[in-house]
């Protein structure tokens, strides 16, 4: 099966193309394929914006500068030569300290009762996995990490919270993530990290990139407080 059979290319709008994967394309980890393909496209396509989601990629271009048929052919050419390799890059491991207390973990009680787990067991399960970045989006630098242990899977809140505190650590479905900026959010909150993951003044403002692996480390309330001093 060639890549041209694996992927579908369609118009999302007059200047956005959508790349989706054919249902019968066999990849063990489709999300990783999309992340890798989107990075490849971003590097090789000039003056186009490439946004990757878990199962699709949007390519934004200016239809006044370059005709859509030309963009399509360009992308088809890239797809022909794109080869996905399972381990394509050296990844860096980022350890994120998390205090899984009742005070910070606004929903830890609900998770505990739904799955008949103690808070300690939730912390052990959540911090026992090395997570991969599945996609980045929603708000600046927000990384969707996975996969979350099956024993912790919970649906989103029916009504999102309006104002989460920065550093809130949430779970939703088989994903987990850090609300670096705070703000509105519908994920279940199980703890908080004192670590800043967004640095607007730095050359690279984003603490987590697609090449980052994340491991959470449980810390006590005292350790949390000494961190923030």
């Amino acid at each position: 099966m060639s890549n041209l059979d694996r992927f579908n290319l369609s118009d999302f709008s007059e200047n956005v193309l959508l790349i989706e994967m054919n249902k019968n394309a066999k990849y063990s980890d489709r999300t990783a394929v999309f992340l890798s393909l989107s990075e490849y496209l971003r590097k090789t396509l000039d003056s186009m914006e490439v946004v990757s989601a878990e199962e699709s990629i949007a390519v934004k271009y200016n239809s006044l500068d370059i005709p859509s048929t030309k963009v399509k052919n360009l992308i088809l050419d890239k797809l022909k030569v794109f080869r996905y390799q399972e381990v394509s890059k050296e990844k860096s491991l980022l350890r994120i300290p998390v205090c899984y207390s009742k005070e910070f973990g606004l929903d830890i009680k609900d998770v505990a009762s739904k799955h008949s787990l103690s808070n300690q067991e939730i912390a052990d399960l959540h911090s026992g996995t090395v997570y991969e970045v599945k996609m980045i989006g929603f708000t600046p630098g927000f990384a969707y990490l996975g996969d979350l242990a099956k024993e912790l899977i919970m649906p989103r809140l029916l009504k999102p919270r309006i104002n989460l505190l920065p550093g809130s650590v949430g779970i939703s479905g088989n994903r987990t993530g850090v609300y670096t900026l705070g703000g509105p959010g519908g994920w279940r909150i199980i703890g908080r990290t004192p670590l800043k993951l967004f640095h607007p003044d730095k050359q690279n403002p984003f603490g987590i990139s697609p090449d980052t692996q994340v491991k959470f480390t449980p810390i006590s309330k005292q350790e949390y407080e000494s961190y923030t001093k």
């Binding site: 118009d11 999302f12 007059e14 914006e49 946004v51 699709s56 929603f138 607007p200």
Partner: protein, 307 residues
């Protein structure tokens, strides 16, 4: 020293044309919600189109000038006055030290832009001055202008030789009953047969909890045939999302880059500036446009306006 804020207005922020190229890191484009009016203001002043401007929302600010400037006001008409004397929109006016610009509220349209002959100095993030309120980035401390703020300004070379004249009469006027041109979105197929027809026939009301991130609409609920939870997908300015409740949301310039609700329509880029002019309680209907026609409209626009 430059401009002192005497009264803040409802939500007054510093904006430019936004930060493109960062949506893969979750950073929205932002910038002026009505980029046409914001570019027009800078164009008429012979300034770089990307120069920061002041964006006013529904009710404008009162500003006192600590220097003399030229300024121009575009977008929704908030009945601007200098020292209690009215002046025309879209026309350059000279102001002196201690002059006071006061603006009231607009009744059609939602946002007004003030451009100055000097450059507004503000915080920058990823090469843009645009205020992005959810993350407190850009502008003055990432916030709307507050009483007592002083915006510093610096002189800038104005490019005197304007290459192209524009006809101000060709600027489309604002209304309280908008027709937005839209294409079918990737999940249009999720609509029931009835809703596929009705979405183009019925009109919606812009709800009060609308903002730069999105305009929520009230009206006939849209029926979705596929109610499975979707995997998050790329979003766009002008994407019309439809949550399970059936009331659509038109995404604005500060919208999230990914989202999990069906993308039922996509507003044509030619009408993006109008999204920034939707005011609560305005009526909105959608008119179908083909992808080809949407491209042609963009091309035709550049013949009238060199931006």
């Amino acid at each position: 020293m430059g401009i002192e804020v005497i009264s803040s207005g409802l939500q007054t922020t510093i904006q430019d044309l936004g930060r493109k190229g960062w949506s893969h890191m979750g950073v929205p484009e932002s910038g002026s919600a009505d980029k046409f009016s914001s570019k027009l203001a800078n164009f008429l002043l012979n300034k770089e189109l990307n120069s920061p401007v002041i964006e006013c929302t529904l009710t404008g600010p009162v500003l006192k000038f600590l220097k003399s400037f030229s300024l121009i006001i575009t977008g929704a008409d908030m009945k601007p006055k200098i020292n209690d004397k009215s002046f025309k929109m879209n026309t350059t006016i000279r102001v002196k030290i201690n002059d006071v610009l006061s603006m009231s509220n607009c009744s059609v349209g939602c946002r007004t832009y003030i451009a100055f002959s000097e450059n507004l100095i503000s915080e920058r993030f990823l090469n843009s001055a645009s205020t992005y309120l959810p993350a407190k980035l850009g502008g003055i401390n990432g916030l709307p202008l507050q009483v007592g703020d002083v915006i510093s300004t610096e002189p800038v070379n104005l490019d005197a030789a304007k290459t192209k004249k524009i006809d101000l009469n060709t600027i489309s006027s604002f209304t309280n009953d908008w027709e937005l041109r839209a294409m079918e979105g990737p999940e249009f197929k999720f609509l029931s047969t009835r809703s596929k027809k009705h979405i183009l026939l019925s009109s919606y009301t812009v709800s009060n909890d609308s903002n730069r991130m999105g305009n929520r609409l009230d009206g006939e609920r849209i029926e979705l045939t596929n109610k499975d939870q979707m995997i998050s997908c790329p979003m766009n300015i002008g994407t019309v999302q439809c949550p399970l409740g059936g009331l659509p949301i038109i995404l604005g310039c500060d919208s999230q880059t990914l989202g999990g609700y069906p993308r039922i329509l996509q507003i044509a880029e030619i009408d993006f500036p109008l999204i920034g002019q939707l005011r609560p309680q305005d009526r909105v209907s959608f008119k179908k446009i083909s992808i080809e026609k949407a491209r042609t409209e963009l091309k035709n626009h550049t013949k009238l306006f060199p931006f």
